[in-house]
Structure formats: C-alpha cells, structure tokens
Symmetry: C2
Subunit: 415 residues, 2 copies
DNA sequence: GCTCTTTTTTTCGAGCCTCGAAAAAAAGAA
DNA sequence: TTCTTTTTTTCGAGGCTCGAAAAAAAGAGC
C-alpha cells in the first residue's frame, strides 16, 4: 500500500520536475519548461523564482544568439554550477579513477592511477580510494561549493540498497561496505553502483533518441556485464544490482567460468574464454587473470585474416551471447542493444554467429530488426553515468527541504 | 520526462488510495484507512463521505462483533457490491469459461464449456466467446449495475497494450484483437491478459504474506508459462506480455519445441516433453497436441514406483527448469516461486534435479533458501486474477471523473 | 441511572498550491 | 515613435489537506 499524497509533496515534486527539466533541456526558458512539464506558466514562474533565490538555478544572461524572433526574448535558465558538486569514483580491474564534478555536470578535477586490484590487501585498496578522494577534496578551490554526494561504480555486484560491494571479479575481497566507508570518512552521502548500470544511465543521457525507454547495454571485456533500462527505469535485481547476463547459463555443465561455475555466457564470450578457445586450450582450464587489450586486438586481427581457431573462438562467443540474448528477449522482448567496451571492437567477428543464434530463439522473431550499436570506450561512459546518478540524487535532495535548502548548499563546508 | 502534478490530480490519487485501501483491507474503519494511507483523518472523512454519496462505498452497519472496546465504535466501510460489475473470461486449451463479478469481488454468475480450440475456425472461437458473454449479460438481474470492464485471460502472448492476442498455443489463429472485438460487440472496455500474469495477481491477492513484492509463478502444464512480480509490479515485456520463461533456451539446438524452435525449456519440461522422454521417443519428434491429466498422473505414478525412463523424464524436466531458473535468478536475484497447475502435482519428481541444477548456477548462491510452493489448480487463480485486474481498472475509472462518476455508475445500462 | 472516559468521526478555519486571466515587460516591425 | 508579438509576472479564485477542536457514540464506574 503506497502512501497518500500530502499537500506539500506536491510542491516538492513539481520543484523536482522543474530541476529535472532544466537538467535535461540544458538551458530552457520558462515557457519551454512549462511545455515539457505540463504545469502552468504561473507555477513555473513561482518555482523557478524560488530556485533562483535559493541559488540552484540562474538566468544565463548572455543569451548567445539574439534569436531574431519578435516578442520579448526568452530568458534561458541553467543549473548553477556552484550550487553543489559531487565526486565520482570508478573502480575497475587494476584501475582507479575519481573526478570532481560541479552541479552543471562539468568535470572540474580528476585523478586516475593503475593499481594491482587483484592482489592488494583489502585495507590498501580502500586506503588508495580514500586517499584519492581526499586529494580531490583538498585540491578544490575555497570558493567551490561543498560536495554533496559521492557515487562509486565498480565492476561487480552490489546490494540492492547500493551500499555494499557484495562481490567483484577485480578483487578477492568480498562484502566491502564502500558506501558506509566513504560516508564515515568524509561525511558525505555515498552509494556503490554497478558499472554497467552506470553505462546504461550514460547512454540514455547521451543518445536519448536511441536509448530511451527500453534498451540493453552489454559490456564485452574480461567478463561480460549488462545494464538494462526497461520502461524508462534502470533494471536492478531484487536483492542486488542484478542483471548478471554474463552468468546466465549458456550450456549446462559447459565451459569453466571465472566464477567457478560452468557453462556461463562469460565462459564463452569473456576475453579469457575467447583467448582460451583461440589457443585451443581445454574449456576446463582455469581462466587467465587478465589479458591485455593489445593481445585481444592481435587475436581479432588473426581471426579476420583467416579461418582458424581464432575465428572459431569469436564465433563461439557470438553464439553464447546470441542464445542468451534470445533467452533474455523471451523474457523482456527485443530491445536496442549497445555493445560497449574494448570487446565491442571485435563485434564484426561476433555478430554473424550471434545473429544466427538469436534467430533460432523465441526472442529472435524479428531478429533482423534488432539493432546493435558499438561503443568501444566504456570508461567515459561509466564516469558520466556516475556523475548523472550523483547529480540526480542531489537534485532530489535540493528540492526536499523546500525552504532552508540553501543553508546546506552554500553554508557549511563538509569534510 | 514525466508530467507535473496538477492540483486536481491530488484529489484523484487520494481517492484511488482510499478505494484501494478498502479493497485490500476488506472492511476497514476510517481510522484504519487514515493509518494505511498516511492521510489525515479529516481528509479520509471528506473523501469517504464523497465516495459514499457517489455509491462507491457504504457503511456496513451490522458490525458483527460489537468489539467490546470502549469509545465510539468504528464504522466499517465496504465496497458497495452494486457500484459496478465486471466480466472475466478465461480461454485455455479446449476450455472456455466466463464469470460475472460484482464490485466487491463476488461471483454472481458463471458459465463454462469444453471446446476444440485447436481445430475451431477463428470466427467460431470468437463467436463462442461472444455468445457466452451475451448469455451472462442477459442473465443478470435488472437491478444489477452495468458491467464496466471485461478482462480476458488467455494462454499465450498478448501485446503490451493488452488489446491483441499475438500468438497462442491453443489455436492456430494468431493476431486476434480480442479487446477491440469485445468492445465493439458490447461497448464495454476490455483487455486481454496473459493467464500466468493473472495467476501472479491472484497469488499476491491471496497470500500477500508470501507473495508480495517479488515472486515468480510458473505454470507447469502442456507448456510452461510464467508470471512475475518484481518490486511490487507485474513484470511484462516491452512489446508483449513477455515473461516467456518456457521459451528460454535450455540447450542450444536441443529438443524440438512446440513453438518450432529447439532447446526451449518447454521442450524438456512441458507435459508433451516429459511424455516424449518417458516413452523414449526422439527429441526431434513433433510434440503431441494434448495429453490428458490422467495420463500424466499415471506417468508420475510410474516414475515414483521405480527408476526408469519415466523418472528420467521428470528428472530432465527438473534440470531444464532448474538451469533456466538459475539464469533468471542471475538477472533478477532469487525470489519465492509458486509452481502452479496440474504439473505441480509431480513437483516431488522434479524438485531434486531442479534444485541440483539451480545450485550449479549463479542464481543458486543460496539455493537452499529458495522456497517453492505448489498450487495444483490454476483455473480458480486465473479467474480471480482476472477479477482483481478488472476491478482495479474500475477503481481507477470511478475515481477519475471526480464528480459525475455516479451518473455513469448507476445510470445508463450498457449493452 | 447518571457521569466520566475513551475512541472515532466530523467540522472549521488556516495555510498552501496551482490555475487562468490580465497586466507588465521586452524586444522587433512598420 | 507606435504597433505587434512573445515571454514573464502578478493577482485573485478555487481546491485541497491539515491540525485543533467539537461532536458523537459507546463502555466503565459508582
């Protein structure tokens, strides 16, 4: 039983709507906002006037092109970059990066470094992260507004409340409560998110014309990840970040997977699996820890050059992805797919067998119509997805108190 | 971009909330409603007074047990049975049934009959359905309030807008726009829903303590169907009713499925598949059209009596369901499962190999903790699910116009 | 039998919020 | 300089929910 709507919720929600409209439209006029939200001009005027007073929005005076239209010119509203800032952190295999992002979404500072995540002790891993964040916080100008939110994206599984990393292939340590660790260290609200989910957020942000209501992002890398948006909402599991497409079962009792089980999609389509098959090693062989992008590129080149075990390996990968996508499509119906990550660079080798497999499944009813796109570089997407997620959180916090919001925004400096 | 909340939406939503609270609680007092909705007593008082005036609610005077409590006694509110009525229709293999249900959910009349759905011409199938509905409409008392909604449940796939049956195993005809057909014939709004989705609705209604936010209902019958509730919402595909668990791929290029493809779960776990395996026929053999429940019972008995091809067949079924549930759990995390339908009577034969398979998948992390329940009789569940769905539609229509609602409710008689 | 408690329900005024219409503002066009 | 056109603000009206207080409807106690 959902709770009833009280009167003050109304204002709060409509404020949220206005902020969200500005964030999506960039620099809309009040009239434009009224159009997209369906609220009346008077309401928009009242709300945006409040938000300007509170320092959340501002009138971007220098309207670029004096639109040459008749009538009173529109006044564009923008998100005030100084209204707040957020920190994004991305932790992936042997790699850590963090960025400071202002309220308008601009990266104002960032840092990245290589680490040996697989072998590092737990405390060291956490320590490196905290230190990097600490440097970012120390480095920002005194004039900058306080950091209001931190979002950490990891390769791996988080709990449904986005507070704990339950498991990750990049480290042997499990159940690290990153959200609480970050909150305790810096006094700033934090969440931990799955990297592929952040990729999905970023795609929707970047290419709304293609990735809007329903789409799937598949990360082809050492392992196989997935982020999915259904009916406009990020799809997550009931207890975890979910969407573990890479561990759907392709062949019962089949090839050995990095997760220790058998027959997972990843055990055929992950980099290590393609490598293993290309070398004609046994499918029971323990997966290699890491394979360089250069090696995978070389493998792909050889597969393109001539038929042989390399080409076969990519073919098998396509088959695994195809059948499992077919199973997924049986559940959710076909949707546009983005193939993300370095592995997407070899999509030409994967696509034929993948499409052939899909066509043999229930989801492949119109397999010709299913459209695939490739995004070879995942890191910027993850970072942007994190930023959007963090800023969205802030948007909803800013509107919450309704009135005294600005005392928290411009006032006390945290950490 | 969702639309802003206008002022009158507020009342509408809170009215919906009150109606929904009454429907869930049965006969709550105003105080109780205030508690569950979180709205103030004054608001509840105002809204329920309106709804009583409009003939949607009524004060159930004869309060059964004079609660022996001190203070002014609570006045129970109930849904007025005469506020509206709905018709539910269930179409399954060789079987058609329909019922007339009042606003409080009581079945006031019903009819059912056997048909040869597989061989009937399209028009005859439609004609039988229309005729049955016509008889129900003709048979109701003159005092009864107009039928405001019809919901048809079918075994098969419908489009996302619940207007057309896209495909069904019970007939060779496809793309039958049942919703429009019914609306044109009777002038009453109608939808077509997947039977398993209705089972899920009914389960949530019946056993909310077990089936609440997240659960799965799997129909074990000639084919394999699924209805799923995730985060409190019925899960459907993006373009169709979705959730075609039975056509996830268990073994690529495996056994021949009724759908014409190969390796679907159904091709191992549907009645015809179990039958085929028990008889040690080839997996390439065309599936039998229908197998009687008695035959399946006998098969199960023989499997229980001694090890042999029958027991093997059930074991294979369990394996197929187990691995595919494991894949599903990889996507959504484990959830309580209800095994519904006659096939659930042989769940004891299926369970061991199923659990073993699940344990070998990513979703089987805590396979011991995944709980299964059986509901051998699906028909009543489907009917009740339809009724609840229809009544929920009506609830939302009654509250919509806000004021003149009753003119439609008590006034003109449709059809 | 009467008064006191207790609990539920209704009433009433206050405070918000959104809306539509009208007014004001800010340009270009003539 | 005066019209048009378009955007934005202002203002009063109408609704809605809320909290407090009042009214209603019992049982409890003497």
């Amino acid at each position: 039983m959902t709770v009833g709507i009280r009167h003050d919720d109304l204002r709060r929600r409509n404020r949220a709507m206005v902020i969200s409209a500005v964030r999506h439209a960039g620099q809309p006029s009040r009239t434009e906002i009224a159009g997209t939200t369906g609220l009346s001009h008077s309401t928009i005027s009242a709300i945006s006037s409040d938000l300007i007073d509170e320092g959340v929005l501002f009138e971007t005076k220098g309207s670029d092109a004096p639109s040459a239209k008749r009538g009173r010119p529109q006044v564009a509203l923008g998100l005030k970059p100084s209204a707040a800032s957020v920190i994004t952190v991305v932790l992936s295999l042997n790699y850590l990066s963090a960025a400071l992002v202002d309220y308008a979404g601009n990266v104002t500072d960032q840092e990245q470094r290589r680490l040996s995540t697989l072998t590092m002790p737990r405390d060291e891993l956490i320590g490196e992260m905290l230190a990097m964040i600490r440097r970012l916080l120390a480095g920002r100008h005194a004039s900058m507004k306080p950091v209001m939110r931190m979002v950490l994206a990891i390769q791996g599984i988080t709990d449904a409340s986005a507070r704990t990393m339950l498991w990750s292939p990049i480290t042997m340590h499990a159940d690290i409560p990153f959200a609480s660790l970050l909150e305790d260290a810096f006094g700033i609200p934090a969440t931990v998110e799955n990297d592929c989910n952040m990729i999905a957020m970023a795609l929707r942000w970047h290419k709304p014309e293609r990735y809007r209501e329903d789409f799937i992002a598949i990360l082809l890398s050492h392992g196989i990840g997935m982020g999915m948006v259904l009916k406009g909402e990020l799809f997550t599991g009931t207890q975890s970040s979910g969407g573990e497409f890479g561990h759907m079962i392709h062949r019962p009792d089949g090839a050995l997977c990095r997760c220790g089980r058998r027959g997972c999609v990843e055990a055929y389509a992950g980099n290590y699996a393609i490598w293993r098959n290309a070398r004609q090693h046994s499918e029971d062989e323990t997966p290699a820890a890491d394979i360089s992008d250069a090696d995978m590129l070389e493998l792909a080149d050889r597969a393109r050059a001539q038929d042989g075990p390399e080409r076969q390996a990519f073919r098998k990968a396509g088959e695994a992805i195809g059948f499992s996508l077919g199973s997924l499509f049986a559940l959710i119906d076909p949707a546009p797919v983005a193939m993300v990550g370095h592995g997407a660079g070899a999509f030409d080798l994967i696509e034929p067998s993948m499409r052939e497999a899909i066509a043999r499944t229930a989801g492949g009813h119109h397999s010709k119509a299913i459209s695939f796109d490739t995004e070879p570089d995942e890191m910027p997407l993850i970072r942007e997805g994190c930023a959007m997620r963090a800023l969205t959180y802030v948007d909803h916090e800013i509107l919450a108190p309704g009135n005294g919001a600005l005392t928290d925004l411009t006032g006390k400096s945290v950490a």
